[in-house]
Symmetry: C2
Subunit: 284 residues, 2 copies
């Protein structure tokens, strides 16, 4: 046990997915594929002082107090009501980077260390995945963030139920973001067409698991699922006119690409790498 | 496709294990736990020139030509007879660091890139795991090396059959090594007592998955399985007298510990970290 611990969790962009809701949150999730990013979230957990404790424990994101139900869910599952959670990230919230999943998973790792909870990594991932599913803020980010690389979700759910694979590459990643798309709204609507398109993209990626194919299938998925925003549509058209390829982050008004595809099309993107490792403690 | 590609695979020390031989090498393997090391193996694959091709493709380790059946097995499974394999590592061969497994897995990653084989990461891990099992040189290093961190093998076998977990910590690692112990000899003998001790250690680690517990259970396992060498026995006694703990690498005449336990006991160990990521390409 320790007074304070910090975990790093990579951001995660989903390129395509199918939704698989289930009564049991550990069995619920998504199939699909995406990219774990070297841009991520640092989550520090400490014991709240007596004076700080109100009805709700404190959660901050980049210094601002935020309501973050997946973090509250992790506190409850780990039995750590006094965990004060401070998160720092360069990634925008609600724009398809898995910030809520990262905060949940980072809280699980760091709170496990501070409060001596003795969970294994699978236990921590399960707690964060279930809290994210129950909050309705995501279905597949947490398991992707736990794995790192270019994660493929073969079967939905937390460790023990889900199954993961990966595209064997660690490309440079570029992205531009214009704002939010409501994950809750899409996931709570009719997901039949989306799921059919997502299943087809997954089968095609498994035939040929390369980064180029991941982007091309993600672009096709967003069009088939009718999720592409006007601004992302316009970026993708520019990138393709310049000889490259780009796709939309699920779910945000965000375009992503590998290599220099966005730069080559004249954009000034944020640049990072596919994160090779999954999540973990950085200090305790 | 590319002319040459390089992969990095972490070393892997097993602390305790149970052996689970099966007819199908993808289902064979071990349960147990260990440490993926930041000290590892860089494996470069290139197309052999016409002039180089003999009956056997070339494999080198630190510049010396070596016979490495698990690498030959990967060449066969990937259908890349012309893959020349050059490996570099600071780790000694045959001393419990998973060098043969690392060479197999690194060959799979790099050859997949050079020869455009289009396997997923699970496919690459499966090829290397099966080649290692068939060569009789290891049962669990490859899946541990693919995962990184402090891997726990919950169920034996390649992805799709096996199941992994991890201890949520990334400690500093110290080790001293005195030479070889034959993995083939131990694995081909009666493994009943060993497997009983390994299963018990696994159950106890799952109760409390911490680095300290991993070392203590590994120490107990080596004693119960009657595998502790005289030199490792003496190192462990010194470390415990100094207030620390250490255990033996399975299978090598090697002692390992976390933090500064070996230094504190007056040894001059090699020092590295638990490797946070699994294996992957570093250049192509």
């Amino acid at each position: 046990m320790t007074d304070e611990a910090t975990a790093f969790v990579p951001g995660h962009v989903t390129g395509f997915f199918s939704a698989h809701p289930r009564e049991d949150p550990a069995r619920a999730g998504s199939r699909g594929a995406g990219v774990a990013l070297s841009h991520g979230v640092r989550v520090t957990v400490r014991r709240a002082d007596d004076g700080e404790r109100g009805d709700e424990p404190e959660t901050t994101l980049n210094g601002e107090s935020v309501a973050m139900p997946p973090v509250d869910g992790v506190r409850e599952r780990l039995g750590v009501p006094d965990a004060a959670v401070d998160a720092e990230t360069p990634l925008p919230l609600g724009s398809g980077f898995g910030v809520s999943g990262a905060m949940a998973l980072g809280t699980a790792y760091a709170a496990n260390a501070v409060f001596g909870r003795r969970l294994s990594e699978n236990g921590l991932v399960t707690a964060a995945h279930c809290a994210e599913v129950e909050a309705g803020t995501g279905l597949g980010d947490v398991v992707g963030q736990a794995r790192g690389g270019l994660p493929i979700r073969l079967e939905p759910g937390a460790p023990g139920y889900g199954a993961m694979d990966g595209v064997p590459a660690r490309p440079r990643v570029e992205y531009v973001t214009f704002g939010e798309v409501s994950t809750e709204e899409v996931l709570s609507g009719d997901t039949t067409a989306l799921t059919r398109a997502g299943e087809r993209a997954l089968a095609d990626l498994r035939e040929r698991p390369t980064p180029d194919r991941l982007v091309a299938l993600s672009r096709r998925f967003a069009r088939e699922a009718e999720l592409t925003t006007d601004r992302v549509e316009s970026v993708v058209a520019d990138v393709r006119a310049a000889g490259g390829d780009a796709a939309m982050a699920m779910l945000g008004d965000t375009a992503f690409a590998f290599g220099t595809a966005l730069s080559d099309a004249g954009y000034d993107p944020a640049v990072c790498e596919a994160h090779p490792a999954g999540s973990g403690l950085v200090s305790e």
